[in-house]
């Protein structure tokens, strides 16, 4: 299969509108000649309604009203179940999926959801079903988890945990028995009140059987990620901007080069200048005064936005794409289309593969 696939990854802090932007980009890309899928993470209910996202299990469903657009929601437990079935022996898989710790890990490791998202993206790319894939990423401090998770997960499963627990380099089942007989664990169990550590070690040994396959998989996923177009979404608020800066500082670890920063909820630059000038064309003095005072406040916000974004664009030499602040987040596919209608600089990105 030599078809060119456009893959777009939208990363950034939580609450900046990643999911909405992903959905809007996908709506823009989709067409009769471009089968497009958007994988969302935890969409707001009204957005999910607009995309008709009601099925679970990672399976994309067609979006009503947009030709060529499908959407799915990340189901991390389903992804992990798939991973276990694909990369471990049937009897081990059965044991793992029944294990309480496995559930806990799949739900709670910070990297677990990101790994599920990255694996789901890879499966979509490899399926040959799609011309364009837009991937919303799970919230993570700094936004790097999506890129780091595959190798971190392999490493973890490969025995980092087990090595710590046993102090042994290559623990096998034989080691486990020696290990559980150690005095430290007998005391630990007395304090903790149960055979907790032993249970955990048993479980980790099972998990470890997937190591070779997962390590190889991590390399493939990374290649997919490097070929994709990565966009970093943010608002001009201090907290998400700090996360964008951290993301760029740590980027060298993952050899990813973002194609653009998307500033969501952007205010027009000319409000700053206009707020210093007299307002014309409003005869009603009271209305004029109210709108003037309001423009002064919002003009100040526009200036604050410019200041907080300047650093990023200059320092990292990355284009800035601004998406205007709209009073209500889009809740229809029409609204998604309108959100990006006047936005400049997108075509170059979405054409690239």
């Amino acid at each position: 299969m030599t078809r060119e696939i456009t893959t777009i990854i939208v990363t950034g802090a939580g609450g900046v509108g990643k999911t909405t932007i992903s959905a809007a980009l996908a709506t823009r890309l989709a067409g009769p000649d471009r089968r497009t899928v958007v994988m969302t993470v935890d969409p707001a209910r009204r957005l999910a309604d607009a995309l008709d996202l009601h099925s679970l299990g990672n399976e994309p469903s067609p979006v009503p009203g947009v030709t060529g657009l499908w959407a799915s929601t990340l189901d991390a437990s389903a992804s992990w179940e798939g991973v276990v079935h694909r990369y471990s022996d049937p009897d081990v898989a059965e044991r793992l999926l029944k294990n309480n710790y496995f559930r806990a890990i799949a739900d709670r490791f910070p990297a677990a959801q990101s790994f599920a998202a990255a694996e789901t993206m890879a499966m979509m790319i490899e399926s040959g079903n799609w011309d364009a894939i837009v991937v919303d990423t799970p919230p993570s401090a700094g936004g790097l988890d999506f890129f780091l998770a595959p190798s971190q997960t392999a490493e973890l499963i490969g025995g980092k945990l087990l090595r710590w627990l046993t102090g042994s380099q290559l623990p096998g089942r034989r080691f486990l028995y020696r290990f559980t007989g150690r005095p430290i664990l007998m005391i630990a169990d007395a304090v903790l009140g149960g055979p907790l550590l032993e249970d955990v070690a048993e479980f980790l040994l099972d998990l470890r059987t997937m190591y070779d396959q997962l390590a190889a998989r991590a390399v493939t996923i990374k290649r997919h990620q490097q070929r994709a177009t990565t966009l970093v979404a943010t608002t001009a608020d201090p907290a998400p901007v700090a996360e964008v800066l951290r993301f760029f500082e740590e980027l060298t670890d993952v050899s990813i080069e973002p194609a653009a920063v998307i500033l969501n909820r952007a205010l027009p630059l000319d409000w700053t200048v206009a707020s210093r000038q007299p307002i014309r064309g409003i005869p009603d003095a009271e209305l004029r005064a109210v709108l003037k005072a309001n423009l002064v406040r919002w003009g100040g916000e526009a200036r604050r936005q410019t200041t907080s974004m300047e650093g990023i664009a200059d320092r990292y030499g990355v284009p800035l794409i601004t998406v205007p602040w709209v009073a209500d987040s889009p809740t229809t596919v029409g609204g998604l289309e309108r959100l990006l209608a006047g936005v400049e600089g997108l075509d170059e990105l979405t054409a690239k593969s």
């Binding site: 009204r46 430290i184 903790l192 009140g193 907790l196 907290a239 409000w271 009271e286």
Partner: protein, 286 residues
């Protein structure tokens, strides 16, 4: 809101938890209380909102009566083992905490109980009039609040279980502990807040002491139609954005309890300025 011994502050990520935690700390200290504000997870905006570069595990004095600290897991684990579980000194502590830190990454509830143990330990120590915990975001809060229960379900006997029951009873005592939920008047934040309220009310793990809406815009006092009728200009566009946002905010505000509301702060630039201003505003209701 600040009359109890422990106030846990949570909300969806990005709604201003740290700003509100810092503001209430400033306010309580101003009223003569001895206050500790604790950042429960990293990264946290708490240091910036208190006007300092960073926080350490040992409480730092911010201003008279106001102290702040940040929980880091390895310190918390050591303290948990030594002071809360009273693990005998004779144990090879390094090896033991190594094994437990693996467990903390694997077994449900351990990491949470170690973190949750810290603010409660500080309350029980009796050194503070008030401990404010800048808690994990709503998505993770439930696993922290239910950690004591998870542990008592998992471990039949022993020191871990005893400590967990102590946490459980301190958290659920409405005279001692309260939870403050911070939200913004937007769909995702409000929906998550409502779900959390229902879940926590049903579980009775902790009393919900209040729901604070942050970044609420004041109406302009003129109608959207009047603004729409003026010639196209930045003044018109800014007016329409403002009235549109007010309308959308009031829709979402209607579906949460009618508790105190904090205004959108125009013209406040640094995090420390924001929390100082919020402290003044909270003066009227907290």
């Amino acid at each position: 809101m600040i009359e109890r011994r422990l106030l846990i502050v949570s909300g969806k990520g990005g709604v201003g938890k740290s700003a509100v935690s810092a503001a209430l700390g400033v306010l309580a200290a101003r009223r003569g209380k001895r206050v500790l504000v604790l950042a429960m997870i990293q990264p946290s905006g708490l240091a910036a909102h208190l006007g300092v570069d960073s926080l350490s595990y040992e409480p730092t004095r911010i201003q008279p009566g106001l102290f702040a600290a940040a929980i880091d897991r390895s310190h918390a684990l050591e303290e948990y083992l030594g002071l809360q579980l009273r693990v005998p000194r004779s144990l090879p502590m390094r090896q033991f905490s190594g094994a437990l830190s693996v467990l903390a990454d694997t077994a449900p509830g351990i990491r949470e109980i170690v973190t949750m143990g810290k603010p409660i330990f500080e309350v029980l120590r009796g050194e503070w009039d008030l401990v404010i915990a800048d808690a994990p975001p709503l998505g993770q809060l439930q696993s922290y609040l239910s950690a004591p229960e998870t542990i008592t379900g998992l471990v039949p006997t022993g020191a871990v279980r005893e400590q967990a029951s102590r946490l459980e009873s301190t958290l659920s005592d409405p005279l001692v502990s309260g939870l403050l939920l911070v939200t913004t008047p937007e769909e995702l934040a409000v929906v998550e807040t409502r779900e959390a309220i229902a879940e926590i009310d049903a579980s009775r793990q902790i009393l919900i002491a209040g729901v604070v809406a942050n970044r609420v815009l004041d109406p302009l006092g003129v109608s959207a139609e009047a603004i729409a009728a003026v010639p196209d200009s930045p003044a018109r566009a800014a007016g329409l954005l403002h009235t549109g946002l007010v309308e959308s905010q009031s829709f979402w505000l209607d579906s949460i309890p009618d508790d105190p509301r904090l205004p959108f702060l125009f013209g406040f630039h640094t995090p420390a300025e924001v929390s100082a201003r919020l402290a003044e505003i909270c003066e009227s209701f907290a």
